[in-house]
Structure formats: C-alpha cells, structure tokens
C-alpha cells in the first residue's frame, strides 16, 4: 500500500508528459486527460482506504532513512484532500473540453493543468519542508502560465499582481526554510516537530512561525494579504479560475494547518490567537468586499476570501472539534467554490456577459440550472440542510465551547452577509427580468441557449456532492473527526516516520 503514494505524483506527471508529446492532437489530449484523472481518482480512493484500514502510510523516497531522505506521508487529512483534489481535477478537465479555446489547448493547456495537479498532490503528501517548497513552486509556475496565457489585457494585469505577491511569499518561505535548517539542522516535518517540543528555542520558534504564517497567508489569501486574489481570479478562462479557486488557496490553508498543528503547536498559543484575529478579519472584510461588486466572478472571489477566514477559525480555536470543523468545511468549500466558478461559464453562455446588472431572467429560460445554482448558493450561505450549514455549525459549537463569543458573532455576521451576497447574485442573475435597453455590444449573444453536456455534467455532480454532504453528513463528519484526531495528537505521525528512533 505504501508504494501507492508516489503514484499520486507520478500519474499526473505521466499524463502531462503524454499530452505534451501529443499536443497537436486535441482529441488525444482529452482522452489522456480523462484517463489520467480517473487513474488519479482511483489511486487516491485506494490511499484513503489504506489510511483508514492501516493508519498513517509513509514511504521514504530512494530508501534513505527518515530525517535525511524525503518522506511522503498520507494521514487522513492528506489523503482526504488528495481525493477531493482528484475529483475537482477530473470534473474541471471534463469542463475544459468545451470551455477552453483551441489556441490555448494548442499552447499546452492540458499538460499545464496536470502539472498543476502534480504540484497540488505533492504538497498534500510531502513530509519534508523543502520538498513542500518545491511542490509549491511547481504549482506556482504552472499557475502563472495558466493565468497569463492567451494574453488578454486583463489577464496580463492580473498575472502581474499574482506573480509579484506569490513570488514574495516564496521568498519568505525560502528564508524561513534557511533559518529552520540553520537552527535545527533538519527539514523533515516529524523531526522538526520533535525538536521544537523542547523549550530551547522559544523566541526563534515564534519568529519562524510568523515567517511561515506570512508566507502561507499570502498563498491562502488571508486578511491583510489577499489583494492579489480579486485582482486576478476573474481574468483567466473559467475552468482555470475554477481549479484555482477550488484548490490553490486551499493548499495554503493545508500548509497552515500542517505547520500549526504539527510543528508550531507546543508553546505557540500566541500564534493561534493571532490566527483567530486574522480569521475574523478575513471573514468580515472579505464578504464586505463582495457587496459592491457587479461582476459575477469578482463577487464569488470575495466570497472565497471570506470563507478562507472561516476555514482558519478551526485552526485558531485549536480543539479537536474545531479542527474537525475546519476539515469538514475544507471539503465543502473546495466543492462549492469550484462549482460556483464553473457556473460563470453557464452565465456567460446564456447571458453573454458576467455583469450582474445586465443579466436577468435566466430562471425563466433555464429553471433547472437556476435550481442547481440556488442549491450551491444556499450551501455557501449556510442554509440547512446543505453542506455549508454543518461546517459552520461545528465551528460555532467549538467556538461556544471555548467561550470565544466574539468569534461566533463574526461567523454569524459573515454568514448573514454571505447569504445576502448570494441571494443578490441569484435574484439579479436568475430571478429578475432582463433589463430591456442594453445597448452594450459586449452583451450581445443573448439568444444562445445551448449548454454543452460536458459543462453541465461536472456542475451537476458537484451540486449532487453538496446535497449529499448536506443530507447525509455523518460519514463526512466521521472522516473529518478522524483527521482532526490525528492532527491534534501528532505523536502518531512522528513515531510513524521516525520509526520510534528517539
């Protein structure tokens, strides 16, 4: 079973290489992409099953023993996220069949998407800090190209901001790695966790924790560091922004969760306090930013930022229940945000543009799509019995248990504003009558009613997942609880990797 772990990295790589070699045959690229994503999905299901049956899985790359070689580890959180990522990549690669224009396909869209997948899966599975940096960069470079290629003006501007802030974050990450290695002489996460248990370097640990909080905070779009996200996520083709919104920021969250449960968990109570404050600000400021926006994808972008804050709430409270809430909300958030971003494609096809003031009346012409969107939007708003409700419920419970009432108030406030923002979106785009005098050449193709099946099916599956997570939450919550139990007791993780050495 352990040998299946490298497959999660090897499969996207092989897929990327084959579609790179056959890049003049779009039909073959689609087939290879589909086959590769399905293989990745089945491997990640097998890994999750293996983790549930046998406990934490790990493999030492090149057979070099633990603190020296690179470790790949899968605990419940990693394998769960890999599985969700595989689902998202499969659905997005199907949606790209019709939503990516032939020029971008010829430039190498499919290989880039799978390299991005490789980076994401690698980040979830690695047990080595420098290796995490390398996967981050693999992810970043492919995302730079995905964001910028096609070369429309808005895309180039968005890419400039995205590249600048993400490179800044990589530099901080790299500096953190340097100090970490210089101080502790190791970069293996389990070994670091062990070394930081001792009280010897308390102040340095806080400095390092701040450095990593900054670096991952930029990637995850946490409160004062999120301005690159709404400036860039609405510019690329829809499937690209869907996979970015679904997975890229979540990798930042994953890194924060991993670092602040495993490595900086001992005497870093201050850090968890800071994370709580940042979470509250991210939630509230993010959703306030969404209110004045008129562009469909920008509204969803600001909602995305707000829910990054919600994800951090569990990490800040730092009880097993709260961490379980974060893990549950993470699954919900990846699915719903991908779904909402894919909806932009539908709206653009049916309405001709993404400006909500100029749209309207889609409920009358396409009631089924309107219903699907309503379900996704209500789930984001936290209406029972959809998936978002349960995630927020667990987090609020954990907050009340720890007597963090101001935080609970922030969750509720952001929740109401999210609901307001989502219902505005629904009523503006689907419910109200289409404004008469448009006179805008950009909104011309109004009469188009054709929706390709390869776009509707992924959205349908995502909404189905949202509903299933909503009305049947207990297996998902059970998984989240298992993940949280492993996160709050890192002893198992450390022993598994260091094989009981010290």
């Amino acid at each position: 079973m352990n040998n299946a772990l490298p497959l999660v990295i090897a499969i996207p790589m092989i897929t990327a290489v084959i579609s790179l070699l056959g890049r003049h045959r779009p039909g073959m690229q689609k087939g290879v992409g589909l086959a590769g994503s399905l293989a990745l999905l089945s491997t990640s299901i097998a890994i999750l099953a293996g983790v549930l049956l046998e406990g934490i899985l790990s493999v030492q790359i090149g057979n070099w023993p633990a603190p020296y070689g690179i470790t790949l580890v899968a605990d419940v959180l990693s394998s769960l996220l890999t599985l969700v990522a595989a689902v998202v990549v499969l659905l997005v690669s199907i949606a790209s069949w019709t939503e990516i224009d032939p020029d971008r396909v010829a430039f190498g869209y499919h290989p880039l998407l799978h390299i991005l997948t490789m980076g994401i899966c690698g980040s979830f599975l690695t047990g080595d800090v420098f290796n995490l940096y390398v996967w981050f960069e693999v992810m970043l470079i492919s995302s730079f190209v995905l964001l910028g290629f096609g070369g429309e003006r808005a895309q180039l501007e968005g890419t400039t901001k995205y590249v600048t802030l993400n490179l800044l974050s990589s530099t901080l990450f790299l500096a953190g790695i340097g100090v970490l290695y210089g101080t502790f002489g190791t970069l293996n996460m389990a070994d670091l966790a062990l070394q930081l248990r001792g009280p010897t370097h308390a102040h340095l640990a806080e400095t390092l924790a701040t450095l990593f909080l900054l670096a991952f905070g930029i990637k995850a779009a946490v409160f004062p560091l999120f301005f690159w996200l709404p400036a860039s996520y609405h510019t690329p083709p829809v499937p690209v922004s869907a996979v970015f919104a679904g997975l890229l920021t979540k990798v930042g969250i994953y890194a924060l969760v991993r670092f602040f449960t495993l490595i900086f968990s001992g005497d870093a109570a201050v850090m968890h306090r800071i994370i709580l404050v940042l979470a509250a600000f991210t939630m509230v400021v993010g959703i306030l930013g969404a209110l004045p926006q008129r562009d469909f994808r920008r509204i969803v972008s600001f909602n995305l930022i707000s829910h990054i804050g919600t994800l951090l709430v569990g990490l800040g409270i730092f009880t097993p229940l709260a961490l379980a809430g974060t893990v549950f909300y993470l699954m919900h958030d990846i699915v719903t945000k991908t779904c909402l971003f894919l909806f932009t494609s539908i709206v653009q096809r049916l309405g001709g543009c993404a400006d909500i003031g100029k749209l309207g009346g889609l409920y009358r012409s396409h009631p089924f799509m309107a219903l699907l969107f309503l379900l996704a939007a209500l789930s984001v708003g936290g209406i029972p019995p959809l998936s978002g409700f349960w995630g927020k419920l667990i987090l609020v419970q954990a907050g009340i248990a720890e007597k963090e009432y101001w935080l609970v108030a922030a969750v509720f406030g952001a929740g109401f504003l999210t609901l307001y923002s989502m219902s505005t979106l629904w009523s503006e785009v689907f419910w109200k009558d289409r404004p008469e005098a448009i006179g805008d050449p950009e909104c011309e193709c109004v009469g188009r009613t054709f929706l390709p099946l390869s776009l509707v099916t992924p959205i349908g599956i995502l909404v189905f997942l949202i509903v299933v997570m909503g009305i049947w939450p207990s297996p998902f919550f059970h998984l989240a609880e298992l993940a949280a139990r492993q996160l709050s007791d890192p002893q198992m993780y450390i022993q598994k990797i260091l094989q009981g050495k010290p």
Binding site: N2, I18, L21, R23, Q60, I61, G62
Partner: protein
C-alpha cells in the same frame, strides 16, 4: 531578441559575423562532447545531468547567436518540448524500476557489471540522463521562444 541584445542583429537584417560563425562550427561539437563528459562523470565527481544540460544548451544558444533561430531548430531536429517530455519520461522510468523490485520509489538500482567508458550503470545515471534532456529542452524552449519574436 537575444541577438539584438548582443548587438548582432537589427530590424529585418541579420548581421553575420564570419569569425563567430567559424569558431562556432568548431566549438559546437566540442561543447556537446564536454556536456556528455560532464553527464557521465557526474555520479561521483563534480558534474552531472544538470551541468551537462546547461553546457549543451549554451552550445546551441551560441549557434543561435552565430547563425539564426531557424538553423538552430534544424540542427536540433527534435522540438524542445519533445525533449522535455522525453527527459521526464526517462527520469520517471528510472525512478519506477525500484518499486518493481519491491524497494521504495526512486531507490538506486545498479548493474553488477561495469561498462567500458561509462563505468557503473544504474538508475541514478538514467535519472541524470533524464535531467540532462529536460534541462536542454527547457533552456532551448525559453531561448528560442524569446528569440523568435
């Protein structure tokens, strides 16, 4: 673009330096030989696929400066992207040998017998060959793309 930066070409015309062109004809095979030498000695001595690949890529870029992009593409025959793909496959293939033999991913597997010239052959050497191809491919991909416009 690169050529212009070095003052070797201008809009619409290409300045041809006979000294550079003649020197390049001799230097190119020598540099390629050196790159292979660096690749082969790489396991135990300074060198390796990365350095070798850079030397090879610089040999081709020298050719590009002395002649032009079209000629370099013809000399290279393979497309740089294909080189990258092939290199990744070779590297991945070398890493995939050990799981077949029941050892963890990427464990070095060596042949018992040594070959003449090359010395001991094993999967780390194959991996280095993959790195070599990827480095040549990526460098030339970047250089040719930038130079073509």
């Amino acid at each position: 673009m690169i050529g212009r930066a070095f003052g070797l070409s201008c809009e619409g015309c290409h300045m041809f330096s006979i000294v550079l062109a003649t020197a390049t004809r001799f230097l190119l095979p020598l540099l390629l030989l050196l790159s292979v030498y660096l690749l082969v000695r790489g396991h135990n001595e300074p060198g390796g696929g990365f350095v070798g690949g850079l030397v090879a890529a610089s040999a081709f870029s020298l050719y590009m400066i002395a002649f032009d992009v079209e000629k370099t593409r013809r000399l290279l025959r393979a497309e740089p992207r294909a080189l990258v793909g092939a290199g990744l496959l070779v590297a991945l293939g070398s890493a995939g040998v050990s799981p077949v033999l029941g050892k963890p991913f990427m464990t070095g597997v060596w042949l018992e017998r040594t070959l003449p010239v090359v010395g001991k052959v094993g999967t780390p050497f194959l991996f280095d060959v993959g790195v070599y191809l990827v480095v040549v491919g990526v460098c030339l991909m970047i250089l040719l793309t930038v130079a073509e416009e």
